[in-house]
C-alpha cells in the first residue's frame, strides 16, 4: 500500500471503520512509514479536540410537548393536504378533458365523417372519385387515399 492511498484511508482507520483486510494492510504500512504515522497522530489530535466541542454542552432539554398546538397544526396540515389533493385532482381532470376533447374532434372528422377527408383529397389532387369508392371509404382507406394523393 502506498502513502497516497494510506492517507485517504487514515480517517476511517482512526474511527475503526475499515474492513479487516484494509485494516491489516494499513497497519503494516504505518509500521514502516513515519510520515503516515505522524499524519495519523495529527488526525487523532484534531479528532480529540473536535470532540471537546461537545463537552461544553451542558444544557438540559426542557421542552414540553404542547399538545394543543400540535393538534392545531396537525389539523391545519390535514386541511392543507385536502386542498392540495383537490386542486391536483381538478387540474388532472381538466388536462384529461382538454386532451380527450381534441382527440375526439379529430376522431369525429376521420371516422364519423370520412367524406370530409375524401373531399379534401379531391380538392387537393383534382381527381374525381366515383360514388362506390366514396361509399367504401373508411378511416384507414381514407388515410391511404390522402397519403396516396401526396
Amino acid at each position: 500500500m502506498n502513502c497516497e492511498r494510506t492517507k485517504k484511508m487514515l480517517s476511517a482507520y482512526l474511527d475503526k471503520e475499515l474492513n479487516a483486510e484494509e485494516y491489516r494492510l494499513l497497519k503494516e504500512h504505518l509500521m514502516c512509514c513515519p510520515g503516515c504515522q505522524k499524519e495519523l497522530n495529527q488526525l487523532r489530535a484534531l479528532k480529540n479536540l473536535t470532540r471537546c466541542l461537545d463537552d461544553n454542552f451542558n444544557y438540559h432539554c426542557d421542552i414540553k410537548l404542547d399538545w394543543e398546538n400540535i393538534e392545531k397544526k396537525t389539523k391545519l396540515l390535514t386541511k392543507k393536504r385536502i386542498v392540495c389533493f383537490s386542486l391536483a385532482a381538478i387540474i388532472a381532470v381538466l388536462v384529461l378533458f382538454l386532451t380527450f376533447s381534441q382527440e375526439w374532434a379529430k376522431w369525429e372528422v376521420e371516422v364519423i365523417h370520412p367524406e370530409a377527408l375524401v373531399d379534401l383529397h379531391q380538392s387537393l389532387s383534382g381527381n374525381q372519385l366515383d360514388v362506390s369508392t366514396k361509399k367504401e371509404a373508411n378511416f384507414i382507406g381514407t388515410l391511404e387515399l390522402v397519403s396516396g394523393g401526396k
Binding site: 485517504k8 487514515l10 480517517s11 476511517a12 474511527d15 471503520e17 505522524k38 497522530n41 495529527q42 488526525l43 487523532r44 489530535a45 484534531l46 479528532k47 479536540l49 473536535t50 470532540r51 471537546c52 466541542l53 461537545d54 463537552d55 461544553n56 454542552f57 451542558n58 444544557y59 438540559h60 432539554c61 421542552i63 410537548l65 399538545w67 398546538n69 400540535i70 397544526k73 396537525t74 396540515l77
Partner: protein, 201 residues
C-alpha cells in the same frame, strides 16, 4: 420483526395511546436531539426552535416511522431536513437583507468545562482559543461536510448512524469526513503552524 410487521406499530392503538407512545420516545432522545440542533445552528434559541419543529413534524408523520430503525435516527433526519429548509430560506433572504453571521458579543464560547480541568491557565487559554477557532472552522465548512463532522467527530456517532441520519451511503460518509477533517486540519495548520497538532497530542 419483518418490514410489514414493523410498519404497523400503531395498529390497535387509540389516539391517546399513540400520544403516550410518542411522548415516551421523544423523552428518550430529546437531549441528543437538542445537542444535534445546537451544533448545527450554533445557537440555543434556534436549537430549541428546531427541536420543537422536529417534534411537530415527527408527530404529524409518526405513522411513517418504521420500527426496524432507531427512533432517534429517524427524528434526527427530520430535524436535519428542517434545518436544511431553514438554511435555504435564510440564504434566500440574505440576498435581500445581508446580515452578519454572529454578533460580536456572541463570538466566543465560555467553555465552562475547561475550568474544572487539570490543565494550567496558559494551556487552558490556548485550548479555549483553539476551540473557538475550530468551531468557526466547522461553521464555515460546506454544509455536507459540516453535517458529517458534527455527527461523527463532535457527537461521536458511528458512520452507520451518520449515514442513516443524513440519508447517504456509508462510503459517502467516509469520504466526506475525510475531506472535512483535511480542510479543518489545513485551516488549523495555516493559523497555528504545521506542527501544532503534533505538539497537541
Amino acid at each position: 420483526m419483518d418490514k410489514a410487521e414493523a410498519q404497523v406499530w400503531y395498529q390497535g392503538l387509540t389516539l391517546e395511546e399513540e400520544k403516550l407512545w410518542f411522548e415516551g420516545k421523544v423523552k428518550s432522545c430529546e437531549n441528543g436531539l437538542l445537542r444535534f440542533a445546537y451544533h448545527l445552528s450554533g445557537n440555543m434559541d434556534k436549537a430549541r426552535d428546531l427541536v420543537q419543529e422536529a417534534f411537530l413534524r415527527a408527530y404529524q408523520y409518526r405513522r411513517s416511522y418504521n420500527n426496524n430503525y432507531s427512533f432517534e435516527s429517524w427524528i434526527s433526519t427530520i430535524l436535519l431536513n428542517v434545518y436544511r429548509q431553514r438554511l435555504k430560506k435564510e440564504k434566500f433572504f440574505k440576498i435581500f437583507h445581508p446580515v452578519k453571521e454572529r454578533e460580536d458579543g456572541e463570538e466566543t464560547e465560555v467553555w465552562d468545562f475547561l475550568e474544572s480541568s487539570e490543565e494550567g491557565p496558559e494551556e487552558r487559554t490556548l485550548k479555549r482559543e483553539v476551540l473557538n477557532f475550530l468551531q468557526k472552522a466547522i461553521e464555515e465548512l460546506p454544509s455536507q461536510m459540516r453535517e458529517v463532522i458534527i455527527l461523527c467527530d463532535v457527537m461521536n456517532y458511528s458512520y452507520e448512524e451518520a449515514s442513516e441520519i443524513i440519508g447517504c451511503p456509508l462510503g459517502t460518509v467516509r469520504s466526506r469526513l475525510h475531506r472535512a477533517r483535511k480542510k479543518v486540519r489545513e485551516l488549523v495548520e495555516e493559523s497555528y503552524g504545521e506542527d501544532f497538532l503534533s505538539a497537541w497530542e
